[in-house]
Symmetry: C2
Subunit: 322 residues, 2 copies
């Protein structure tokens, strides 16, 4: 960001998910002028998909370009590589191999396009518009179906030498521990602290505790939400599910803090809806595992962006950073 006036500029944020692609036109304050979505699947080639994206977005650009100049497009996507502008072997997308998406979008729309993965985009969104505004050192952890992360040091997203830095969901927190449902690794953070991991923990604990009302939940409905409801009814086993999850998350956060000493850790995603059931043990075990010089310093906060808009805002923030 220069010191010149940004108030007559706009950017587009695009969030590419496995099923849907969301987009929005955004100003430098994070206000979304207009937004929409298209299906991600249903296109034989990436080129056809970009054409469809352009057809959907172009009318919105026309509507606002009288008053706002389109500065660029930011894209968040699974396995999106900031350095190359390519999506590389994303398991959840319909197209295989290396997809030069930034280049294709830039050519089609006639403005610069910047790509990164969804978790890094989320971190950028928090730094530009949200809970990490003005912070130069922070870590963003997304706790959803999986566990993702975006790391900012010295005001810059940490991309590493190859663009793949910040895979904190795959850090091993319990050597030889629970097998990951997709990578096969034993004891990774994601295997315990994702929504998927919480379901596993709940099923394990209810099997061991036949008196728990968790046993009243139909097998396919055991999730973070139904376990939360049981905890609210006073079920100690349901509370233990979150306590256990929080302990492992807190221990992991302590290790991350001793790596990059962030001022703030921003948490985002469905799992944090369990509130204090998970956050109290998280804080407790985070502090307990820190060297004294790091204790009682790091703020643990929730994202300030609306969940429905966060991905669009995060992607849009990439443009302002340039």
């Amino acid at each position: 960001m220069g010191i010149y006036d940004l108030s007559n500029e706009m950017v587009i944020g695009i969030d590419i998910g496995g099923t849907n692609t969301k987009y929005g036109l955004v100003n430098h304050r994070g206000q979304i002028f207009d937004k929409g979505d298209i299906k991600t699947d249903g296109y034989a080639t990436i080129e056809e998909y970009v054409d469809a994206l352009h057809s959907a977005i172009y009318p919105l650009i026309q509507k606002f370009e009288k008053n706002y100049q389109l500065k660029g497009i930011g894209v968040g996507a699974p396995n999106g590589n900031y350095y190359t502008g390519s999506i590389e072997y994303a398991p959840n997308l319909p197209w295989k191999g290396t997809l030069e998406i930034a280049n294709l979008i830039s050519k089609k729309f006639g403005v610069p396009c910047t790509l990164t993965n969804d978790a890094n985009a989320a971190a950028m969104g928090e730094m530009m518009y949200g809970a990490a505004r003005g912070k130069k050192d922070f870590i963003m952890i997304t706790l959803g179906t999986g566990v993702g992360s975006g790391i900012v040091c010295n005001g810059q997203v940490v991309y590493g030498h190859d663009g793949f830095a910040g895979e904190l969901g795959h850090v091993i927190v319990r050597p030889g521990g629970r097998k990951h449902y997709s990578t096969g690794a034993h004891g990774s953070l994601e295997a315990y602290c994702s929504a998927t991991g919480i379901t596993v923990t709940a099923k394990k604990l209810r099997a061991e505790n036949p008196d728990s009302i968790l046993n009243d939940i139909p097998e396919e409905q055991v999730d973070s939400k139904s376990v939360f409801d049981a905890a609210e009814k006073g079920d100690t086993v349901a509370k233990e599910v979150f306590r256990y999850t929080g302990q492992i998350l807190g221990e992991a956060l302590a290790n991350f803090i001793m790596f990059s000493s962030p001022e703030v850790i921003v948490l985002f995603g469905g799992v944090i809806k369990a509130g204090d059931y998970i956050m109290k043990p998280t804080r407790e075990h985070m502090e307990k595992n820190l060297l004294p010089i790091f204790q009682n310093k790091v703020k643990l906060v929730f994202s300030e962006l609306k969940e429905a808009d966060a991905a669009i805002l995060g992607a849009s923030a990439l443009v302002w950073e340039q």
Copy 2:
């Protein structure tokens, strides 16, 4: 570093240890014109210590300042804070509280002075003159009496919001594991992979294996060196000491890689003299615990700086970075 000629400039690197302080006059290629040392203890106040340092170094400055302009002084010290220029509550130094050492040295010598901790200084030395020359993303791990680290992302040392980032020796790698001899934490990397940790592992394993020739070593001589000698004689328990240490180190390195995706990890310190006994299991378990996108990419190398000079060179590199 600008693009102007550095060949007629020199800097001073000072390494403050608990017992001795080493210093050297260094050019931009890492050549040491002259060096020396004074005792760190034996001075009632930090001011008297700085006076003594000046008395020792000033004659060397006079000798070289005809041909080389003194550009500045870099200091590496335990708990040295880059942001404040102060040593903050270092347990191993004779003076207590916060020591404004950079300020005192700068006033006394009449040139700028930059401070950081010893492990960050070591990383700077490798980036300026050693195994990480030209690398923008790397991690330096020092395996000595303790385990220290310096992290470089995007060409900059990661200091974190408070200057204390990079305490990778205190990351918990075995939750609930071995108690640390000084911090009291359970299962930290330093408790296993420092020279001190290796001694503990050796004593534990020789107790469990009465046939091992490790039992022939006098209690106070059980260390990395004597265990290495036993391994060289073919003792399988001695080899297991290093294999176990290497496994834990490798697992920790995998976690660090998934954080910042470095191009290189530089290892330094007495422990690496065990060579393949420790490095083979380190590499094996590092690769095994990485997500596929990180596998077979990260170079694991030894420091290229002479052990006796590395601390001086690292401290001196701080000045060139400015």
